[in-house]
Amino acid sequence: MTATTTAPARREAANPLTAGQLPLWGPWALIGVALAIGAAVSALVAGASGTDFSIVAAVLIAYVLYLVAITVVSQQIEGGRKAADRLVTGVVVGAFVLALVPLVSLVSTVIINGAARFDLQFFTWTMRNVVGEGGGVLHAIIGTLLVTLWAAIISVPVGIFTAIYLVEYGRGRLSQAITFFVDVMTGIPSIVAGLFAYALFALFAGEGVRAGIGGAVALSLLMIPTVVRSTEEMLKLVPNDLREASYALGVPKWLTIAKVVLPTALAGIVTGVTLAIARVIGETAPLLIIAGFTTNMNYNVFDGRMMTLPVFAYNQYVSPGVQEQAYFDRAWTAALVLILIVMLLNVIARIIAKVFAPKAGR
């Protein structure tokens, strides 16, 4: 019996490939200890100087302590390479958490403040004849959806066709010029897009024009460069082999683009378009100028003022009535709804991307 138990043990000891290893719980234990020390130091400082206990200070102290401790301990037990690995892992995770802090804080603030008016009335009423409490944003939701939809209708075809031209046909000067102007367009301030749309529509409809479609035009100016850029990248990723395979079957170029290149890149294109929509759906300035604001429902993008969610939130915030809180609550909830719409868009895009993605067989 002794023989059977010692034999593997001896073989293990003789294995030259093994090295010292921290137990799995090691880092966690260190984190716990570091947190305890950080909290203690922070409490001591707070007691001595008579200030409040600071969680931020405690966590920061604990984090630095942990980085030092894990490096030293790992150096002793596991050697230099592992120690460097643990240190860098610690730094990277720290940076990740730091990046997460504002996001979590933003989402939680919006949820907490927006919860007050997150009720049925909010989604079924407009602000028509509402003064003070109550009312809803149905008109603004519809407005946002319509304006964004039209912006997408305008900019998705333009953007995708431009990208197809640049990748599949573009040669020489013209394509260089297009690329340059697309880059310039990326930097257009949104207020300029709004003023442009206003000036454009004022030509036809006279000064003081307000229409949802104007907002859509302004937003599409902001969307087109994003769509072009992302689609271009996706089309470039399609391997040339596939185009050649298609040509070799006697398929004309346009059919090759329509039936081989685009489907192969579709998932990426959809994602790019969704990101472009998410970028413009929260735009306020251009819509303030050209779509204006109203308390009424307006289904017609081609005529009259049209409320949108960001403008609604802005409007509630800058000009609260007598019952201030009701206005602020509505602003927060509108912001929450906007975030939810963007999230929903992202989910939909992911589903679409999944459905259309080239099926990885293996």
């Binding site: 040669r171 391997p239 082999d241 596939l242 185009r243 050649e244 395979a245 298609s246 040509y247 070799a248 079957l249 006697g250 398929v251 004309p252 059919l255 090759t256 039936k259 081989v260 489907p263 192969t264 579709l266 259309f356 080239p358 099926k359 990885a360 067989g361 293996r362």
Partner: protein, 259 residues
Amino acid sequence: MSKRIETNDLDVYYGDFKAVEGVTIDIEPRSVTAFIGPSGCGKSTVLRTLNRMHEVISGAWVDGEVLLDGANLYAPGVDPVNVRRQIGMVFQRPNPFPTMSIRENVLAGVLLNNRRMSRSDQDDLVERSLRGANLWNEVKDRLNLPGSGLSGGQQQRLCIARAIAVSPEVLLMDEPCSALDPISTLAIEDLIEELKQEYTIVIVTHNMQQASRVSDRTAFFNIAGTGKPGKLIEYDDTTTMFSTPKVQATEDYVSGRFG
């Protein structure tokens, strides 16, 4: 169903660079012709000029003529799309369409060209082409799974099935076995042997045994040095090329004494 290819004093360029010079060759219908030669001597380049795939590369152009049963492929007014419908191509790396199933890959020539075909005709064509490519038994139960899920050798045979499904007159193959194991290679060589009953086949290969096994005639290309154009050195029956070639360079190359 099978046509003769001739080239007359063909020069092939990539922009200013003359890659191949003065190729004159006469390829019999219903035969297998092998292109051999050291790397960079222009075998792929010549092969791609035979179905006007060469000009897909930007800046690439051709001087001279390629005749398909006497009709010049490079005559003004010739639509390269029509040329490629008659002269199919199999590439060095298997390239099935990743968005398509096995079945759709075989039907790609039909589907991509928006040609109408009844469901039963499609099924027939799929089975015929896959049988022709020696792949039917392996994939008949999973025709609707993605083509990229097959092994490399199966993918290559899928690409061959795709190429013969459009019933071309000529089939060009650029090192079709270079990524394959010996068994798949053998399967494809058998396949070439069968396909030669119906098609004119041109195959590029680095494998001397393969060239001597599958081909009726062999063309040896060589290059004088880097930056110089490749040339057709000798073109003859495969048995002659491998036993009593007329040119010393050919003998050196086929016997492995090259360089």
